[in-house]
Symmetry: C2
Subunit: 465 residues, 2 copies
């Protein structure tokens, strides 16, 4: 003991980094250990999780194999009401976990107003708000109907939706077609330009793409995503390569099946003008391979991460359809000129299904251009992905990252690892204005909040006993 105090002070610090920095500034040697406290789970449940480590691991292996082996294809495009399970004439599906009209955030309310005008159920925003708050509309999460939607994620009955089939498991997944950037419904805008664009998409884009896909039979989305990861996309905040490859795949068929060449050219122009056109397909492809991994006893695999702009919700394979929620955080973002974090709505959208499936923020090493959203470097992109391996069950054998010597993307979030290591999933995201009717104000990154994972771990423990 005396020896210890005779020596020069050398500190190994765990926890708050400020202590270590203060020591270094005062001229002492101090090393910071890369360690963070685990999330808050009761001692009893923590003990249950440790005791069941082996059975959880086996269940997770089974679940993630379903995800890895999934084969998502685009097989058609149909009107939502004709194909979406549980969709009725008075239905509106939305992003994230369940939420009542009175608790919805601005951009979600704005998108619902737009959808009701588009459906000709209301003539004015005021009329739409009255209808929405009257109880005359049945709101439900997309995720409860095999569907996903970016940002507000609104799907109303007459919107066309991509129909995906997971050929490995036979299940389907659905998503609307991406509207493009600027003032668009999914960011909460509902002006006449927004409604006109939705009408054009239903009248021109939908039949042209539907016929083209019918002629092709199917489009292999797993192949396009795998290629796009070699071309700078992470297929969440960057979809330029995937959109290009999809465009190349469908353009000749659009030309062959569209009766009017000018209409075909307009459809090509529309896709060509929107580098995010593929986003909704990458989301639905992720949904298609994650859905069949749900309901596996003892599995702590995360099958859904989704935000409604108010709450962030998580589902685990082993707890089936139950939602575990907590307040949605506000993203760190690069804001468009004239906007600041003050204008930003909390995180919103089902697009984090891409991270849930090992893409997006989990694959950001494939897309260094995206890290510029938060002033980062190429090394930051590598580090973010490397950290996600810490909380993932497996590495994808098809989705690979060139700059990591084609290592597979970290795939399948293990909620137990998240809780034990205190490492939260890293998510790329767009940012909506918090008021309805405005639209996108930026793009950035966000870490998932702790609370939904803590609750999910508690619930899984309760089932394991």
């Amino acid at each position: 003991m005396k020896d210890l105090f005779d020596k020069e002070l050398k500190v190994v610090n765990l926890g708050l980094e400020a202590f270590q920095q203060a020591l270094v500034q005062s001229g002492f040697q101090a090393v910071q250990v890369d360690w963070r406290p685990p999330l808050v789970v009761s001692a009893k449940n923590r003990e249950i999780l440790v005791r069941n480590r082996e059975s959880i691991g086996m269940a997770n292996k089974k679940a993630v194999d379903i995800v890895l082996n999934g084969k998502p294809f685009l097989v058609g495009i149909e009107k939502a009401v004709d194909v979406l399970p549980g969709m009725k004439r008075d239905s509106i599906f939305h992003a994230g976990p369940p939420v009542k009209w009175e608790n919805m955030c601005g951009p979600m309310k704005g998108a619902i107003i737009g959808a009701l005008i588009y459906e000709t159920k209301a003539k004015t925003p005021e009329e739409a708000e009255r209808l929405a708050s009257s109880g005359g509309i049945s709101f439900s999460p997309c995720h409860e109907h095999s569907a996903v939607g970016p940002m507000a994620g609104i799907i109303s009955p007459s919107m066309p939706v991509f129909v995906l089939k997971n050929e490995e498991n036979g299940n389907h997944a659905y998503a609307t077609m991406n509207e493009g950037l600027g003032s668009v419904l999914r960011y909460g805008a509902y002006g006449p330009d927004v409604i006109e664009r939705l009408e054009w998409m239903a009248e021109a884009l939908y039949p042209a793409l539907k016929k083209a896909v019918a002629k092709l039979g199917k489009v292999d989305l797993k192949n396009i995503i795998a290629q796009a990861l070699n071309m700078g996309d992470e297929v969440h905040n960057r979809n330029r390569a995937a959109t290009s490859l999809f465009y190349r795949a469908v353009a000749p068929s659009i030309v062959r099946t569209c009766p009017q060449p000018e209409r075909a050219a307009e459809v090509l122009d529309f896709i060509n003008s929107n580098d995010h056109f593929f986003l909704n397909l990458s989301m639905a492809a992720s949904k298609a391979v994650l859905d069949p991994a749900s309901g596996i006893k003892s599995s702590s695999l995360v099958t859904v991460m989704a935000r409604n702009g108010t709450e962030f919700g998580v589902r685990l394979s082993g707890t089936g359809d139950a939602w575990f929620t907590g307040p949605a955080p506000v993203p760190d973002a690069l804001f468009f000129p004239g906007f600041t974090k003050e204008d930003a709505n909390p995180d919103i959208g089902d697009s984090s299904i891409t991270e849930t499936g090992g893409l997006g923020g989990f694959a950001i090493a494939a897309s260094p251009a995206i890290v510029q959203f938060v002033g980062g470097s190429a090394k930051d992109a590598l580090d973010y992905t490397l950290q996600m391996y810490e909380i993932s069950v497996a590495e994808n054998d098809v989705y690979r990252i060139p700059s990591l010597d084609f290592r597979g993307t970290p795939t399948g979030i293990d909620c137990v690892k998240v809780v034990e290591k205190g490492i939260l999933p890293f998510i790329d995201t767009g940012v909506a204005h918090k008021k309805p009717g405005i639209g996108q104000v930026g793009a950035g990154v966000v870490s998932a909040p702790a609370q939904p994972f803590e609750k999910a771990a508690e619930a899984l423990s309760a089932k394991l006993k």
Copy 2:
């Protein structure tokens, strides 16, 4: 002195690495210095180059600024004989430095046989060979006519060529349209399928693309190349992204201007089926910005590196149109099944104009997938590019490499640096079978040979005195 020999032996080795390896194997400490001998230039001329260092540097700055500021656009597509300077009815232009028929390699002879059949100047390969060897055909390098051609690089009078304009300097550059992979003219094949494809390109592809480009006015190739470098291309051995972006840019106009939709669809299918379609455009874009940098007094900037399959030729800005040549090396390659290095022709083609302009092998860090051609890793790709900065005059402010935190590509090879440092330009390349009539047997990488650079440095010194 005694001290030295009393101590343990520790060796610092320069030159042949085998010495250092032998010492280490024998249990001694030995460090290898990363140094290589300079190339062979006479002592007198070496002294001249050192004495003129400042004026050479200023001249190179002037020359490379022309390269960096160049603005290459695709402005049209025409028949070669109508636009190529100096092309006559009996002309055939070829890749690399000048070469007589009797000295031409197999694939170049094969491609000329095919071109003469395509031009209906011969009915059989034997007839074509007789004509070619009779003196009745005027052979000349593409590079002497503002043009470039991949591999054999054959341009005959009735072939359609892309017309590029460098809007900064007003000069034009030309290249044929890429035929695709497999059995194709540029790799020396000349069978009926090759000729039929060339005919279809002249009758269907050419008018469709010509009208589409006319409708667009121009296509910004610098913009496409800059984007493609962010999408895994180095636009020499990998052009998937650039081809996709070019396709997106022209497809709507093809549909609008092509009278028959089925013809438009066939044209889209053709481009879609060939990820190298953009190669000829990236080559011509490089040629367009390098040509105006020629003829600057005292400049040791390399304006051309080109191979005819027999010799490797170099031109410097300060020595104008003079060629400096040496034997072309055989590339290290990944060979197609059934072929080996024994089958490979020495390096061939004008495509090394991309490296001359700071792309291809110089930008390989942007394209880790390419390094797999020689069993390399992502780090190898970074290292190759980092080494090319050592022999380059500048860094491109538009062409940038994501994995190097968007550092500009090394641009403008300085022949004096090549000679002083003994670092030779690194080139991505395709590999042709050495016999005529067969085609491609692999793809790989190659270092330029020393001799052309040694001769060029001697010639520049003689002018400097």
